[in-house]
Amino acid sequence: MKAAVIVFPGLNRDRDMIAALTKIGGVAPAEVWHQDADIPDVDLIVIPGGFSYGDYLRCGAIAARSPMMDKIRERAAKGVKVLGVCNGFQILIEAGLLPGALMRNTSLKFVCREVKLEVTNTDNVFTNGYTKGQIIRCPVAHHDGNYFADAETLAALEGDGRVAFRYAEGTNPNGSINNIAGILNAEKNVLGLMPHPENLIEAAHGGIDGRALFAALLDKAA
């Protein structure tokens, strides 16, 4: 399993993501600079978290319009797995690879804390290492994670098992509708989520609940 991490200027959890992929997969992912001519031939493309282009204009809006996103869109259409975490999720939404919108947290404040996630659906390549309904710990760190979609979109997401993660046990940190923390595209090869599973993969992080996501993607044991 080969992975690539896409780096836009201003992303800052790229190193965390690369560390997680390397530690769990045993091989370092390719690092792809946003201006690189192409993405190497990989099975998994990851857009990590941070503040691409400073979150200026709107979170993810500028990166979503870069030529690199056209390349990612092409790969996704061919079935390559695409994972966007935090700002990566915001970029995927702004680029139209995932539906809905991520608005400012209802608290209007940046929030960094650990929350609980329910693994809502496991019939996809991202979450099949968990059991359906499993509650896991996971950190969040964002200012704009308040997921919203219109009723029709929500019905489709819920009806087709495309809600991958939900905030559980009253820990919704941002006001997301239906407690949605992460969603899949219709083909279920693109996942975007606000929480940071890459920051909970080893003893030093105080837990390893995030490992199963990467292990499933990289065909490794968690």
Binding site: P9, G10, N12, R13, R15, D16, A19, A20, W33, Q35, G50, F51, Y53, G54, D55, Y56, K109, F110, V111, C112, R113, P139, A141, H143, H196, E198, N199, A203, A204, H205
Partner: protein, 741 residues
């Protein structure tokens, strides 16, 4: 030599630049002619308090700055300390007080930006940040607004830049009503053989400008930061700079990439007084002249004058001296990151600082004298008046349990979660202990087990009562907090916040506090390797509490052996290590008196430095031996508050026995120094704990068993039990309730 001057230099203009008549005379004597307007601006930037340390230098020289691990002490962008294995920690703390009061979000944000730049300028990737914030009384009309803005600004910049905030302080006192304090700390990691300095070397080499463009923001900022506030404060908003963390993040990556190419000879970030200060420092340190051509400086606005360009404090800018043959390589790095790169001058051999603008020479000054010959004052000072000690029987009475709940749910001791959850505390994936404990702990990337601990401490009410003891105590508490995680304290940075040094009583506070800091640092082998002085923190003639913030760094050989403050299991013995046999005895300047009885009397507690060191070394050894399951130092609120914090953090209660025949209020709320609470995974009746007591006894350290963990209540002797749940909600609720009120 005469330079054309379009603007007449009047006594009023000189005064508006914060220069005194005798200082202006010194300029005339130095250059033998009237300065140009641009030169006057340059002098005012270099000779103000903020940049020249003219009131404090004499006293700062008395601080210990050397040690076996110190690679670089004060005088560079940040201090550098060896942590073994060819690695170094690079750190500094700096204030951004005045700007944060005028414009809290941008003032705090650019404070964080400035300190991060100081660290990566030296070649170190920032790995941890802290901030010490002090605001006016909670009930003051501006306080909420300032807390909102400052916290959002700190978070807004640090989160976007991508450094974890691992520790900090937030305190309220009416004496900060008109002048809050924002002290920002950053630490980075570098290889010891890849540290970069600001000293220029070589004649005729390109001086290169990097980063963001120059605008008019912050013109005169350093001069503003060296003046008292009056009622015209709102008019000073244009002197506050605006931060752009996105540019700073790119600047970090670009600088580190550039440094790896070997192109950099010297580098200096543009902080206070921007282009002026950075160019002068690089030249003066290297015994070289510098010639700048301002027509080459990337600008954001048209028609900027030389004066404005030289004094602009636009953020996210760097100045470097580069190897000319590597210039194309260097340029490519900056083009990749879409940052400006411009050769704006050269080094010269004539020790002059020359500034060219539109084909004309607008400044030509002796470079060494600009820096080294800044006025230095031995300002008059008076011995502070130390309040009389409290009478032994002066113990205002209150129910112990009620007092504990009030203190743990009051503004001083309540949880700071509302604040630190707005900071990214986990980014980089190395945070072992996040805010809420005694010190932040991170693991060191590139090493199997090494960790670093960080804390920032000062007790301003002690410093106000007794500046010498307060200075000692700030250092001791910092050293103690590092020790409580199991770390070996390595070195510290000091951020000295005081009022107007032209007043002898304020100068007396500074002199005595620095004396206390120096004595404590010497006794604890805890050198000061960097720092910053912020004076004139007063509004309409009333100074802040003297606040010498100490930021400390400690080393853990194995982060897995670090301990936290929360109780970890029931039925474990609790020992109180250090301090007097009667546990608590000192109520003077305590939180108990201040927050429950509105009394600010008595002397501050004195720190016995020999006992401090002995006790700390003993505790650290215990932690490293693996028998300690939790450890917490005693500070504000004494034994009672420390026990409550351990119970809240661990979600486990405890039962503690009183010392018979001694007022419980003194026992639980006295703020005697040099004390730690530990819980042990030892049998309280077993041989190992007896051996521990024998060792403590042979060292002359009190280490009594005081109780046992367990249950859902905290029971302090004969006081009524308080549930951990009640303590927790009191502790957690104060801040969010206050901010939403």
């Amino acid at each position: 030599m005469t330079l054309r001057n379009d603007i007449e230099i009047t006594p009023q203009l000189v005064a508006d630049h914060g220069l005194k008549a005798d200082e202006y005379q010194k300029i005339l004597d130095l250059i033998g002619r009237e300065p140009t307007y641009t030169e006057l601006g340059i002098f005012s930037a270099m000779w103000n308090e903020h940049c020249s340390y003219k009131s404090s230098k004499k006293w700062l020289r008395t601080l210990p700055t050397q040690g076996p691990r110190v690679i670089q002490g004060p005088g560079e962008n940040a201090g550098v300390v060896d942590i073994g294995d060819g690695q170094a920690v690079v750190f500094k703390m700096e204030s951004h007080n005045h700007p944060s009061f005028i414009e809290p979000y941008q003032g705090a944000a650019t404070g964080v930006g400035g300190i991060l730049r100081d660290v990566f300028t030296m070649g170190a990737r920032p790995v941890a940040a802290m901030n010490a914030l002090r605001f006016g009384a909670p009930e003051h009309e501006k306080t909420r607004h300032l807390v909102h803005g400052v916290v959002a600004g700190v978070g807004g910049y640090g989160n976007s830049f991508g450094v974890p905030t691992v520790a900090g302080e937030v305190e309220f006192d009416a004496r900060y009503n008109g002048n809050n304090l924002v002290n920002a700390f950053a630490a980075g990691l570098a290889d010891t053989d890849k540290i970069f300095y600001s000293k220029a070397e070589g004649v005729g080499l390109p001086v290169v400008y990097l980063g963001a463009k120059t605008g008019r923001d912050g013109v005169g900022g350093a001069t503003m930061a060296s003046a008292e506030f009056g009622d015209d404060i709102e008019e000073k908003r244009p002197t506050v700079q605006v931060g752009d963390p996105f540019t700073e993040k790119r600047l970090l990556e670009a600088c580190l990439e550039l440094m790896a190419t070997g192109a950099v000879i010297a580098i200096q970030d543009m902080g206070a007084a921007g282009l002026t200060c950075s160019a002068v420092e690089m030249g003066a340190k290297g015994d070289l002249g510098i010639e700048l051509n301002l027509d080459k400086v990337p600008v954001r606005e048209e028609h900027m004058t030389a004066y404005e360009m030289m004094l602009s404090e636009s953020q996210e800018r760097m100045l470097m001296v580069l190897h000319p043959e590597k210039e194309p390589e260097a340029r490519a790095v900056f083009e990749k990151w879409e940052l400006d790169f411009a050769t704006v001058g050269k080094t010269t051999d004539d020790l002059r600082f020359r500034v060219l603008w539109q084909g004309e020479e607008v400044a030509n000054l002796p470079i060494k004298e600009l820096g080294d010959e800044a006025p230095e004052y031995d300002r008059p000072w008076v011995e502070p008046k130390i309040p009389a000690a409290l009478a032994a029987n002066d113990v205002p009475q209150m129910d112990v349990a009620d007092a504990l709940l009030k203190l743990i749910g009051g503004h001083q001791c309540s949880s700071r979660r509302w604040v630190y959850e707005q900071y990214d505390t986990m980014i980089q994936g190395n945070s072992i202990q996040r805010p809420g404990g005694d010190a932040g702990v991170i693991r060191v990337l590139g090493h199997d087990s090494k960790g670093l601990a960080f804390t920032s401490d000062v007790n301003p009410r002690y410093c106000e009562a007794n500046p010498y003891e307060g200075g000692k105590q700030a250092v001791a508490e910092c050293w103690r907090n590092l020790t409580a995680t199991g770390a070996e304290p390595l070195a510290a940075t000091d951020n000295l916040n005081f009022g107007n040094p032209e007043r002898p009583e304020i100068m007396g506070q500074l002199v005595k506090a620095v004396g206390g800091i120096g004595d404590a640092c010497r006794a604890l082998d805890f050198p000061i390797v960097s720092g910053n002085v912020s004076l004139y923190n007063e509004t309409n003639g009333r100074g802040i509490l003297p606040t010498p913030t100490i930021g400390g760094v400690g080393l853990l050989p194995d982060w897995q052996k670090s301990v936290r403050i929360g109780f970890t299991a029931a039925n474990q013995p609790i020992l109180l290590i250090g301090g007097p046999a009667l546990r608590g005895t000192h109520l003077g300047q305590s939180i108990y008196l201040r927050d429950l009885f509105d009394r600010r009397d008595g002397d501050a507690p004195h720190v016995d430095l020999a006992a401090e060191r002995k006790t700390g070394d003993f505790v650290r050894k215990l932690i490293r031996s693996g028998v300690v399951t939790a450890c917490h130092d005693l500070s504000d609120g004494g034994l009672g508050v420390a026990l409550a914090e351990m119970a809240i953090s661990g979600g486990i209660g405890a039962t503690v026995v009183d010392v018979e025949g001694h007022d419980p209020l003194l026992q639980y709320f006295g703020e005697d120094q040099g004390r730690y609470l530990v819980t042990l995974n030892l049998d309280p009746q077993g041989e190992e704990i007896v051996a521990l007591w024998e060792e403590a006894k042979s060292l002359g350290i009190e280490a009594p068993w005081i109780g046992t963990t367990g249950g859902t209540d905290l029971v302090l002797g004969k006081a009524k039990p308080v549930s951990v749940a009640a303590l927790t909600s009191a502790h957690e609720d104060w801040f969010p309730n206050y901010m939403s009120a």
